[in-house]
Structure formats: C-alpha cells, structure tokens
Symmetry: C2
Subunit: 235 residues, 2 copies
C-alpha cells in the first residue's frame, strides 16, 4: 500500500459504548465483567476494535448489536479519549458512544453469553481505565438533553404511564420531582398522545397510557418551540 | 513491548482544528493551503499527528500554538471522524477540535510561514476530505452555544462596543439582528461591565466600551439563570 504518511506512528483505536436502559424504576448501565487482560476480572464498558472495513460508527453499532441483539437504536458519539497512558495495555485512542435502549427489548441470552450485567447508575462498581469518566460525561449529556429534547422517550416502552415517565426523569436527574408540576409541564408541551387504554398493573383504577408523538414534536420544533423540562424538585 | 492487543490493526490518528476568528465584521476560519500530498494545493484545516508523548488534546494545542503562537486559548474537542475512506492517503481517524481566538492576537509571521490564511466562513473555498463537514458541525455548535453561553466573548477584544458584540452575533447566526432588542437583551443579563471609556474610531460621539464579567456570569449560572440570546432578526 502507498503510504503518504509513512513517517507517522499508527496506534490502536477502539470504541466503547455507554448503554443506558431503564426498568421502570432505575436507570441502568450495561457493563461487562472482563475475562481477558488487561484488567481481567474488572468491570468495563462494552467495547471493541473497528474491523478493516468498519468506520467508527459501524464498529459501535456492531458492539451494541452483538451484545444486545438490537439494531437501529439510538446511538451517538460521545467523545474521543486519547490520553497517552489511559490503557495500561498499550496506547489506545477510544471513541466512546452513548446508547439508550428499552430495557425490555434486549436479548437476555446474548447479554449472558457476553458476561454482561445491568447495573444501576447510582451504584456502579469500579470501572477499568477511564470508563467512569466516559459514564459521567454520558450522564451529563443525558441530563442536558433530557432538558431540551424528548430524548428520554428512547428509554421507555412505546406506551407508558405518566408515573413511568416521571420515574425516568427522576432517574436521569437523580431527584424526586413534584408530580403535579411534572404532569402539567409534560402535557402542556402537547407532544404526547393520550391513549384510550389504561395500565392496571399498579392500581385498580389504573393509569392512562401515553405515546410520544414525534410528528407533533417536529412541528413544535419547526415553530420555534424550545422544549424545556421543569426539574423542580418535590417540595 | 508487551502487546495485549496483538491481533488488532493499528491505524493513523490525526487532529484537525477548526479555528474561528472575528475581525469586527466577519467570522473567519484559519485555513492552510496544502503543500504536500495527498490533496496538494487544496485547502484544509490545520492539523497534524499526535507525537508519541502527546494525548489528543496536547496535539491539538500544539497544532494551534505552532500556527498562531497562541497558548491557553479556548479549544475543545468537536467530534471524531472515522469513516474508512475519509482520507485517500490511507485510513485515518481524525479527531476535530474547535477553537475561538481573538483575531488581533495571533502571530502574523507564523501564519504566513505556515501558508495559512483567514477566510470568511460565508465564502469558504473547497476543503479536502471531510473538512467541510467538520466546519459545519463546528458552526452548528457555535450557534447553539452562543444561544446558551457567553461563548462568543472569546472572539472579541477585551473591551468592545455594543455594535461589535452585535456584529459578532450576526456573523455567528448569519442574520441581521434588531439593534434595540439585542442591546436590551444583552444588558438585561447583567454580565457586562459598562466602562467609562468610549471607542471613537467609528463616530465622533463614540460608543461606550463594555467588558464581559465572568464572575457575574458564574454567579448568574449558580443562581439557576439560563442565558438565552434573542436571535430575532431585524424587522
């Protein structure tokens, strides 16, 4: 192969995925118990190296899909980590990605085969290398986004109750929110369709189910609407 | 050297810098006319390869300082570009950085030696590889940030007039703004110190000079203030 850049050092480039899921109560992260060196036996984000014919995005999609069976889910690049000594194995630039998945959708067998586990974000084990820094950056972005975009909806089932939506926002912000304010704010944004169905799993009376309406949201954005979520805490 | 990751391919990792400057009227980009292959004779962003002892951030800082003589200026990572065939030379992952500098500060001799030129963002030449994609992403981020953070102040001289500040925002949004609204909005945020000096270079009467007050801004943020810039266009 012709090498224009013959005098330059090549190095390893990896992708690591911060995969969030939500199970009605807790925001969780999908983590791997490493069974290889370096850092064998410790916890890490799922990751890998791009193959010859893969760009960074495709590599991250493959890591996510090999682990969860999921394709075409929300996945975006978070940040490239390039400190010289961030990996004790050798110099590795790692490009971190962030994904939000519906926790009900993933393939349980695949996750088990890969020695992966869902761990609550507010009770994480020690992570290898700079993986905790990646997680913290992903959390900050998730909080910022959830304030200005309906990003959290990626984490919910297609139909959800208002208490479920509130639990998600409480998990993202790690704060208890005021129920009445939250509900009012959410409905005032008119991006939810109230369905004629109720979820009766948690009470006799049941709770109405809602569905996020992406068309209405796009229209709101086009009209210059700026989505903001009131994160006022419970009094 | 022990290689834990012995079976993996190493590849080139580069940094490229989107360097914005503002000269009172126009927002400009610092571009290089390439004198080496690939793409000799075409325009590109300033960039380079991290040295053995440099992380990504340090490499970007070096590229910026070798070209402009500036250190400790605003510089942040933008995005990692990793498509397999983005560089015709060979596979290169490029981590783009974005910088805002006061156009009066840079070292003119260094820029000349490096075959670099300031080009207005609304009249850019063709750029190599995916460098235009990088510039567009940087512009989108600059617009978003300027709406919620006083980021544009990095581009102004320490003391500036209200018309200069307005010109900057007009250059960032590529829109004419309403003078009265803009001034009112800016002053209402109380993050500018009005000085007892006037700039008399553009009129006999002169225009008062202002200075950005970062302490006031930090206090506003701590109080839960959310900076938003009215980008209503001129009627």
């Amino acid at each position: 192969m012709d090498r224009y850049y013959s005098h330059e050092d090549r190095q390893l480039v990896a992708v690591d995925c911060v995969i969030f899921g939500f199970d009605d109560q807790e925001l969780k992260l999908l983590l791997i118990k490493r069974n290889m060196e370096p850092a064998k036996g410790l916890w890490s984000l799922p990751g890998g190296f791009p193959k010859k014919d893969e760009g960074l995005d495709q590599a991250a999609e493959r890591v996510l899909s090999q682990l969860t069976g999921l394709k075409n889910v929300y996945l975006e690049q978070l940040y490239a980590y390039g400190d010289v000594d961030r990996d004790p194995g050798e110099r590795v630039v790692s490009v971190a990605y962030c994904s939000l998945i519906k926790i009900e959708d993933y393939d349980k067998d695949l996750v088990k085969e890969n020695n992966a586990h869902w761990r609550p974000v507010n009770d994480l084990p020690d992570l290898v290398f700079d993986h905790l820094v990646m997680v913290e950056k992903a959390m900050r972005r998730l909080r910022r986004r959830a304030r200005t975009q309906p990003i959290g909806f990626e984490l919910l089932p297609e139909k959800f109750t208002m208490p479920q939506l509130q639990s998600l926002y409480e998990a993202i912000y790690q704060k208890e929110l005021d129920k009445r304010n939250f509900c009012k704010k959410m409905l005032s944004m008119r991006m939810l369709d109230k369905l004629d169905e109720k979820d009766k799993s948690t009470s006799k009376k049941g709770a109405f189910l809602y569905r996020f309406n992406p068309e209405k949201y796009e229209q709101l954005l086009a009209d210059g609407f700026y989505f903001t979520v009131d994160v006022k805490t419970k009094k």
